[in-house]
Symmetry: C2
Subunit: 648 residues, 2 copies
């Protein structure tokens, strides 16, 4: 695997985000979402489903009477919250928040058992049953999340209380699972501990941590199938589905898996762990399997918004080119996981295609999961919504026309929080004397390029405007390379220094500019950002004869608030003249797109005529207005549509 060009992400500690677009969102996460979630975790949000999450820890610690409540994986909610809070503390020290986290950590650690075990479901229900249903009961999943939380909080504050507790728990897990005789040859039903263990390995350098991660990945799907043995005396919940064990990505060894299958969140979490192990152990075979899965997923099973998971049954992938817009699942967590994975793919090979997917998901399917105020959430991210359908068709009940206050299974809001609050980790990377810019956002970054210390400032109004100004603040003498991702959506770009074009070499979606940079050097990258009509591969049945509108990385949609009801009656006109307008007072400031379209005339139809001989369809002109997809459902409940019929 020596031909791979590993890059290393620049951690958020060295990145300061000062961005108009993301700044607002990150402030919302920090000031609203984190505190709102703390209230939710403590069952104090009126009208929202109670979480029971922290209460479970108190019950498990014997501090409060009661029994376990909530989902079997309820522990993970507070883990994700701690992780998110920790990241915000890195950029924004906040002693009150830190004290709150300490309080949560106290409650968690108090529940830990003498042997290190820490899962409230089994502590409360009886430890004799622990490890007996890895497939469904999420013990290793909760452990993985808590481990990520512990590492993040240690990273933010240097406090070891949760980390030490988790090290003890990991030792217990390590002594329980593995290839050795006497150990259980199992693996998690819901992946995540693989990447958490790799993070731990990065921190501790202890081989046992990496070995355990690799074991969970390599053991997965090996015959005889652990899950089949485990549940041979239990009712098999998923027995009659077409997924069978591929719902858990466990139908065959991961190296033999060719298609993204089963539960989408589990899939991208597994793939992320595979990427970590492949990179760390230079495992070419694992990387090849991963590339195949990535290609299948992103080139045949991904929505234009970066949503994944086409069916609500199993929250799962289905088959190539099956991308229904109105019955889609597209769980927020799955797009979050896709960003995790894309970052890891980039760290193995800096290809623009990975950055493109990361950007597509971030600007669309991820942030669509949260309202502008940071206190309402989507679990499912549809591309076509009719509120009446969600209310009256039980088969579309999972598609909500409005974001919800909280969820019985509240995985998505804290997952959003932990990704967004660590966004600084995703922007830059380094390899030797090359500094990679994966995402464009206003920020300052400090990088060490083989001893060469470099500080850059990036200023931009991206994604609203085309210009990205990059200034070298400090650097020492000597050549080094700036590698700028040229987004896949961008068909024309220019790089200039003052009036002069700047030469670079474009390779795999990055423009490599090598020079002897000096402090004060300023270059201007201009990514032409016209309104683009996008078509889907004709194999996508649901998008045939339809067009989606994009501008830059943003997918646009029509909403009822701007375009009235019956969006399905709209089609695009022959010639569009796009009007692009930044509206500062709309939806916290968005660029809207307008154009003349057409709407099918309904006036000659009686309400009570259902079928009739075809008469040429009659259309009349209609002004259409698009808003960015991520900002939909922030006004009155109504219809929404991404893919619009062509004139043909």
């Amino acid at each position: 695997m020596d031909k791979k060009q590993y890059t290393t992400g620049i951690p958020m500690e060295q990145v300061q985000i000062e961005d108009a677009f993301w700044g607002r969102i990150l402030e919302t996460v920090r000031t609203r979402l984190i505190s709102y979630q703390w209230e939710a975790l403590n069952d104090r949000v009126e009208g929202a489903e109670p979480s029971y999450c922290l209460r479970n820890f108190r019950v498990a610690a014997g501090k409060e009477p009661g029994t376990f409540a909530g989902c079997v994986f309820q522990d993970s909610d507070v883990a994700k919250w701690i992780e998110a809070a920790a990241y915000t503390l890195i950029a924004h020290p906040d002693s009150a928040l830190e004290a709150t986290v300490d309080e949560a950590v106290d409650q968690i650690v108090s529940a830990q058992q003498p042997d290190g075990y820490l899962d409230t479901y089994y502590i409360i229900h009886g430890l004799t049953q622990r490890w007996t249903n890895l497939r469904d009961n999420h013990e290793l999943y909760c452990a993985g999340h808590m481990l990520e939380a512990a590492i993040a909080y240690y990273r933010a504050t240097g406090k070891r209380r949760l980390l030490d507790a988790m090290l003890r728990y990991v030792d217990l897990i390590d002594s329980t699972f593995g290839a050795e005789e006497g150990k259980r040859h199992g693996y998690p039903g819901h992946e995540i501990i693989e990447m958490a263990l790799m993070k731990l390995y990065e921190l501790t350098g202890e081989e046992k941590h990496r070995r355990l991660a690799k074991y969970f990945i390599d053991q997965r799907g090996q015959a005889p199938l652990y899950f089949a043995q485990e549940v041979s005396d239990k009712p098999f919940h998923w027995k009659n589905t077409s997924y069978e064990y591929q719902y858990y990505q466990a139908g065959r060894p991961v190296r033999e898996q060719k298609e993204a299958q089963g539960h989408a969140v589990r899939a991208v979490y597994l793939y992320s762990g595979m990427a970590d192990v492949a990179r760390s152990t230079e495992d070419e075979g694992l990387w090849e399997a991963l590339e195949g899965l990535w290609n299948n997923m992103t080139k045949r099973r991904m929505y234009i918004t970066g949503a994944i998971g086409s069916s609500h049954v199993g929250e799962a992938f289905t088959y190539d080119y099956d991308l229904p817009n109105d019955t889609v699942y597209g769980e927020t967590c799955a797009s979050v996981g896709l960003v995790f994975l894309a970052k890891r793919m980039l760290s193995i090979e800096p290809k623009g295609a990975y950055g493109d997917v990361m950007e597509r998901a971030l600007y669309n399917g991820v942030i669509s999961g949260m309202n502008l105020a940071g206190d309402r959430f989507f679990y499912v991210n549809p591309l076509e919504v009719l509120p009446e359908a969600s209310r009256k068709d039980e088969g579309k009940r999972h598609v909500k026309p409005s974001r919800q206050k909280w969820f019985h299974c509240a995985c998505c809001p804290p997952n959003l929080a932990r990704l967004l609050s660590s966004l600084g980790d995703y922007i830059y990377g380094v390899r030797e004397r090359t500094l990679f810019v994966h995402l464009y956002m206003g920020s300052r970054v400090e990088a060490d390029l083989q001893g060469q210390n470099v500080r850059l400032q990036v200023q931009t109004r991206y994604p609203w405007e085309e210009e990205i100004r990059i200034q070298v603040e400090t650097c020492e003498e000597g050549d080094w390379t700036l590698a700028l991702r040229i987004p896949g959506w961008c068909r024309q770009y220019g790089l200039t220094c003052g009036e002069d074009p700047v030469a670079g070499v474009e390779r795999d979606g990055y423009l490599y500019v090598t020079r002897s940079w000096k402090p004060g050097d300023e270059i201007l990258l201009k990514l032409r950002m016209p309104v683009e009509k996008i078509e889907a591969n004709p194999r996508v049945r649901e998008d045939i004869g339809k067009t989606a509108i994009m501008r830059g990385p943003l997918v646009y949609c029509l909403e009822e608030a701007d375009n009235g009801k019956d969006l399905h009656r709209i089609r695009l006109a022959e010639q569009e003249e796009w009007e692009v307008c930044y509206e500062p007072d709309l939806l916290c400031g968005v660029v809207t797109i307008s154009a003349m379209g057409e709407v099918q005339n309904q006036t000659d139809w009686e309400e009570d005529t259902l079928y009739r001989p075809f008469a040429r369809e009659r259309y009349e002109p209609k002004r259409l207005k698009w808003i960015p997809y991520y900002a939909w459902a922030n006004r009155a409940e109504g219809e929404m549509l991404v893919w619009i019929r062509n004139l043909a």
Copy 2:
């Protein structure tokens, strides 16, 4: 209600079907389906799910050890089979079949309890629980079906054994349910007993039978809600759905119901019972409610094939104009029930619209439920099928690309059998001195028009050909009226006698021809039957910009066998020249339709490109071939499509 023009159906005893189209189907039902079902009911069909139906009766009678197996309403399967067998015996006496029915009746009657009770589920599980879960456990539903069977078998053979047993059971039900104090104020969770009791009333003339039917209808949905009281101590299976009690059409009194809601089969069975009671008791209010429900259902919630029930969740209606083609339910039983209802609507008011719906369902969504050989069945009747979706998308698992051998819940095949084998009951009606022809099929009919005995012969190749020849075989002197339904799909027709046009008065979809007919009079009705492109109301989102092809009463579809894969890439061309061809060797003989269309060119798309900037869509000409919808899925498994994109 004296303004209503009641008609009376002419029973199949006076009708002899001699029809090329239906003759083949009825022979298949008689010679294949009936015997195949008997094998299935006795668990002797290899590879099909066992029925346990007759075994349950033997167990209940103490003749065989074992417990109850199958669905809670398994008894109804044999009831439907007896009913179907009985109807075939009317036209085709068959001592072997009659002996088999007698054997079934013996097994059934042996299980009857001393007080008349007869439901194997509760006899086997314990009578103390009977009548405690009317909502879910189908006792009154099974009773209704068995009552229909008893009446049909008595009608066919004069044998009273099952009828007498059911009269005792009805007496028990009558003493158990009713408005009187001490009786249960309940009604069935799944309707049918209402129309069965009305059939019984027609036979016995006993007021108590009609009163009980009327009670079940009027009591339904009255506060306090019986089902709510009944299940207050049970888990409420449907609690979290949007239907609530309207799943059972019990959310409010039936006279206050405005929309077809809930389980589609239950709905049309209820409405059929309402029609029977409204007609028999001249209940104008009940008729008005029924008309509203009919209009809502057939003018806003019915597929072009006569399928009803848009969602598989609850096998239910959803909301106006929601008619998805690929996730549709469209249960065969629901279209069968729609025919039951249409016949009853016609008996109250002879309007062509009722006959149109009856014809639409019969020629499309009903007979699509069975293969040409009569031994494979659809439960769900989709209008768009991709076999891969059915296999790999759990949300479309209910849509089968091939007909099945049998079902765990095998309501549909015997329902088809009982409707088709009594088809003779649906063709003609009389009112005073008018003879109505509701459906066109080759047949002889004998009618009594206020003492005037009339015999007609109808000869036709309908629905393949346009001409219907009607000859008066015998009649006495004097004026009488022939009322010919002019189908809603027919835009031009002619009625001639030799070279001369025949004058008639068209009213409400019927052409009334009054003359002094003489034996040997022959008229020729010609219903112009061009290929028609049909569009749906633009409120139907799933059909916007699409066209369905019909010819006469038949809906047509594209199948992969004739048109290759990826049917969604096809669209209609600007100008079609239709080629209409009767192919005697195809699918037991069908008229096919061919025309030039277009197919989107996929050659410039890489498999691994999912989205790209829009380039004008490229199409190439393609010869398209349509077959009648009812005949699809009789060749190799493949795609199927009814609604095709327009050129626009």
